[in-house]
């Protein structure tokens, strides 16, 4: 298939002497495989030597590689606005636009490291993620679920009702607005039901916390008891545990679902707490002594997709040293006074 791309048609029409260097379809395919292999992180020194050899073997090989590199530069060097526009067109917006959706976040299970659910039930969950993974799921009604690291959930989207059962971990749900239907997220502790706008829910050990981003949410314990439900407004939080709902201190609604965009915001937060959060996104944990770091508080926004660089940033701004003798599981120590 030929696609006209006038913006990119800047190469000269091949002259007779250049015809020999014009890459054939086979050469183009081979060049594409090389480019992909080289950027995959799998290529070792021998691969690189073999690539150089292939590139030198015929002028058309070098031409194909050079052109591919040129096209890449074009995409990479595009203006931030153009790149973000492409992102929006194909991957969805990086930042949520206000008002269009409902937001629900849930953190469930018996903590991140232990679950009372049998492994087999997790295995058969509709969707599950491994450490460090985040998965975007589109539901048939237009709602969107983002599943956090090491999480599992089942979906029941029968007509008129949307029930998301979080088996482990955390999720963020953006519920399509204007749906004349019930949408709720449940855990073994209780449930959070959308009453018309946006909220988040988070379950800690043997309990579930609900935080509202905008509009109203009804938080109910399990087993259901209408008299024990509490209705929450934006910025308000409540904890569901042992069949009861209690109010918690208010939160900044903007920070509650930042993880779904890959960021961990912190404001005068204990360093140990920040490291706990980073560890949820790692297969091999950052090790530290809670007592040792007890008096250190940090502020900033840390990337969850690259927890090693988050750690490096912390080491630059805080009185800590990172011991990387174990390369996958670094050890954080407070500097001696």
């Amino acid at each position: 298939m030929r696609i006209a791309m006038p913006q990119l048609m800047e190469h000269p029409i091949p002259t007779d002497s250049a015809v020999a260097a014009e890459p054939s379809p086979d050469v183009i395919e081979r060049a594409a495989e090389w480019m992909s292999h080289l950027e995959s992180g799998d290529a070792d020194d021998m691969d690189i030597a073999a690539f150089e050899q292939w590139k030198a073997a015929h002028p058309s090989h070098a031409v194909a590689i050079e052109r591919m590199g040129g096209l890449e530069d074009r995409l990479r060097n595009g203006s931030p606005a153009s790149q973000e526009a492409l992102r929006r067109l194909y991957l969805g917006p990086r930042k949520r636009m206000g008002g269009a959706v409902l937001i629900v976040a849930l953190l469930a299970g018996a903590g991140w490291f232990a679950s009372r659910l049998p492994e087999v039930q997790l295995y058969f969950a509709d969707e599950r993620t491994i450490a460090g993974e985040m998965r975007d799921i589109s539901l048939p009604d237009g709602s969107r679920i983002v599943l956090a690291s090491e999480s599992a959930a089942d979906f029941d989207m029968t007509k008129g009702r949307g029930v998301v059962r979080l088996l482990r971990g955390e999720l963020l749900a953006e519920v399509a607005k204007g749906q004349a239907r019930v949408f709720l997220v449940e855990t073994e502790d209780g449930m959070a039901e959308v009453l018309g706008t946006a909220f988040t829910v988070r379950k800690e050990n043997h309990s579930t916390a609900v935080a509202v981003i905008n509009s109203q949410v009804r938080a109910c314990p399990a087993p259901p008891d209408p008299a024990k439900c509490i209705t929450l407004s934006p910025g308000e939080r409540a904890r569901i545990a042992d069949g009861a709902v209690t109010r918690l201190s208010n939160v900044d609604p903007g920070n509650v679902a930042a993880w779904a965009e890959g960021w961990l915001p912190a404001e005068e937060t204990p360093l140990a707490h920040v490291l706990d959060e980073l560890n949820r996104w790692r297969k091999d944990p950052i090790r530290f002594d809670r007592q040792d770091l007890a008096d250190i508080r940090v502020s900033g926004i840390f990337p969850l997709r690259d927890t090693d660089s988050a750690l490096a940033n912390l080491a630059r701004s805080q009185p800590i040293t990172i011991d990387r003798r174990d390369p996958v599981s670094p050890l954080v120590r407070r500097n001696p006074n």
Binding site: L8, E39, S40, G132
Partner: protein, 173 residues
Amino acid sequence: MHALVAKQDIGSLYASHADWLNDWLRRHTQCPQKAADLTQDTFCRLLEKADPDPIHVPRSYLATIARRLIVDDARRARVESAFLEVNALLAEGARQPGPDQIAEAVNELMAVTRALDALPERVRRAYLRSRLDGCSHAEIANELGVSKSMVKQYVARAYAHCYAAAYGAPHPD
């Protein structure tokens, strides 16, 4: 032997089929103004073709060109609104691009989206997650629920496809 379309033939093609094409476009766009514009554009495309293809069934040929123009028109609207929306967000209080800069950026984006739209969803996603978000092949493999070697194949396919789109090289896509 095929009858090639010469410029004077386009004149007679216009005389006999322009009204029909305009009606066809009205039905497909639900917009008389757009239908009129795209009718003109369709014949302009024909005139621009340096090496016209043989035409056996003029109306189906014209409809094929017109269909492509409708798709492009919708694409331009999407690209333009995405670009303007992003600019409004990015440049709060800062200098907004002028009409020329917008047109240039939109044209460039059109060329890129034409190529990207022709890729299968997973291939495109793998490619863009790597290019726009800097994700590694391993991260993309996780996200798509496929092996890393599959991601490598996806990215290679995207490379070959973009090459073909830019340089018109023959490619099975």
